[in-house]
Symmetry: C2
Subunit: 338 residues, 2 copies
């Protein structure tokens, strides 16, 4: 089959590789209907994370079940399925508490930019739709498998509540989905921090009420101006750098919350500063599995349309251009059709 | 009047100093009925924080109002009052949201180990009891002004809920009050980490169901053993060192919460580690003012007795011995009677 392989920073190729096989009775194989490039894929692409040996890429997927292991009984070949980038058995102690992204048997997906994918823990990971969705709904369902689920988690971790004020740091696909989540959860005011016109436009379409273009302490000053001098109730940190984390923490009011979902790179939080800020902080890989049924419903009913974050669609063979366009910020997020 | 002054690490004296006066119309002067030595007072006493010029000490107090500024109308001379170590106007944007310890006009108390004390922001800070309490209730009310309020905040920040499992790191007065708080908030299992027999005993009396004597990663292993392998729902960090913070973070399950109330000293939290732990973290100086009416009621009704953390009572003149006994861990907490 055709699959994406990274060889070195900037060197992404589609190659012929052996197709996946069932390894454990809890596995399933799916034929990928759509997959995509994640902001986190850009870390190794940009050389900001070691690449190591050439290896496959991709952790977002929707597809059709091809084959199931003997213990996978709730999905059947031919069904359209959505799953999380973090697989989960959905039965362990963490899963039972709703923290499937910390499943004791978790395996992170990493081979999804390909024609076929093996899904470990398929029984606990995949959620089938009643019927095959129409093509226009596929991007939204693909978004649910990661960026929309992650934006949702960011908003919950930041404790967005009806009537609250939310700030979204980061105007990538996750941040934009965070705007959707904040709106769905009832935030009255949603301030998107963005300096890119196309992303500002999408943020406003998704429900942002204010745009702040300043960054760092200037950005924080603007947020304070907009929030009665004390900061926001909820801040969604959707980048993962030391600067964005500082910006997020300083934008929240005492007693407010920061939900951080950008994988932190060289971020250390000073204990005493966090202490006196009285800001609550929770991050992590989103427990997307917990939200899947709800978010799939919201997409299929047309209530939300997170698929709009895909502003570039390419055939899998052009994956290199998909990475390049995102790296150069020509595209928010690239959808790939195998 | 007689007041405590620190001159250098280990050098605590009672001296004759001018009595306090009303400086602002929002001030009150109280005659101290009881005050005490805090674990945080030991940082400069031990030379772990700079002492600087000789200065007064103490931030915990209950007393009788002597005099009030012109804008202080809700308490009157002669009334018995309890207040927080952090003063607050109780009207600013942060106060209105219940975060009085981040009051925009906050002044931290720092002169309370003395016969008389000036209370800034008296109008928003002091809560009067209906009548003068009997002597046996005074220690409990004094505890409410800081350690009990702080333990309460730790339990709330750690999101202790009915039926949950709580771990308390630190067996000082705050940790012990954290046990009381966890029990009052409905924790089903309360694990106190302590290796001191007298403190273990008090923890059990306050509602602890388990004692863990191991520290560091050995302690974490024990906690995991006691919590089905995943860690506790809620952890109250009541020390403030890098080791205790690590122990607390590692003792919480994914999706669990750490409330940290020990003022952090040289603590940095690694962003990526916190991310993958999925533990929620909130700390800070407790918004004691928010809890005062409720906690005063619980003490006056005899429902809780946090006054038991005072296992040494000395006249103010012997304050030096009070510090020494706590430094040498001969006493949990020293109450001083001016």
């Amino acid at each position: 089959m055709r699959a994406t392989v990274i060889h070195a920073p900037g060197d992404i190729r589609v190659e012929d590789v052996p197709g996946p096989r069932i390894v454990k009775p809890t596995d399933a194989i799916i034929r990928t209907v759509a997959t995509c490039v994640c902001g986190s894929d850009l870390w190794p692409y940009r050389g900001l994370e070691p690449v190591g040996d050439p290896h496959p890429m991709g952790h977002e997927y929707v597809g059709v079940v091809e084959e199931t292991g003997s213990e996978v009984t709730h999905v059947k070949p031919g069904q359209f399925v959505v799953g999380s980038f973090a697989t989960s058995d959905n039965t362990c102690a963490n899963c039972r508490k709703g923290w499937q992204s910390s499943c004791l048997n978790r395996e992170f997906m990493s081979t999804c930019q390909a024609e076929y994918v093996r899904i470990p823990n398929a029984h606990g990971t995949l959620v089938a739709t009643d019927e095959h969705p129409s093509g226009d709904l596929v991007p939204g369902l693909l978004a649910v498998s990661d960026v929309m689920g992650t934006g949702w988690y960011a908003a919950l971790a930041a404790e967005v509540k009806p009537g609250s004020t939310a700030v979204v740091v980061g105007d990538g696909a996750v941040g934009l989905c965070g705007v959707i989540a904040a709106k769905e959860l009832g935030a009255e005011r949603i301030i998107a921090m963005s300096r890119h016109e196309s992303r500002q436009k999408l943020a406003l379409e998704f429900g942002a009420t204010d745009i702040v273009t300043e960054r760092g302490e200037d950005g924080v000053t603007r947020i304070k101006d907009l929030t009665g001098g004390i900061g926001a109730d909820s801040v969604l940190e959707c980048v993962g750098t030391a600067q964005s984390m500082r910006q997020a923490l300083h934008s929240a009011r005492p007693g407010g919350n920061v939900g951080f979902v950008g994988v932190p790179h060289e971020v250390a939080v000073d204990g005493q500063e966090l202490f006196f800020s009285q800001v609550g902080l929770r991050g992590g890989p989103a427990p997307v599995r917990r939200y899947l049924p709800d978010l799939i419903d919201r997409v299929l009913s047309g209530h939300i349309n997170p698929g709009k974050v895909f502003d570039l669609t390419l055939p899998l063979d052009q994956v290199a251009e998909g990475y390049k366009a995102m790296d150069e910020r020509r595209a928010i997020k690239t959808l790939l059709t195998p």
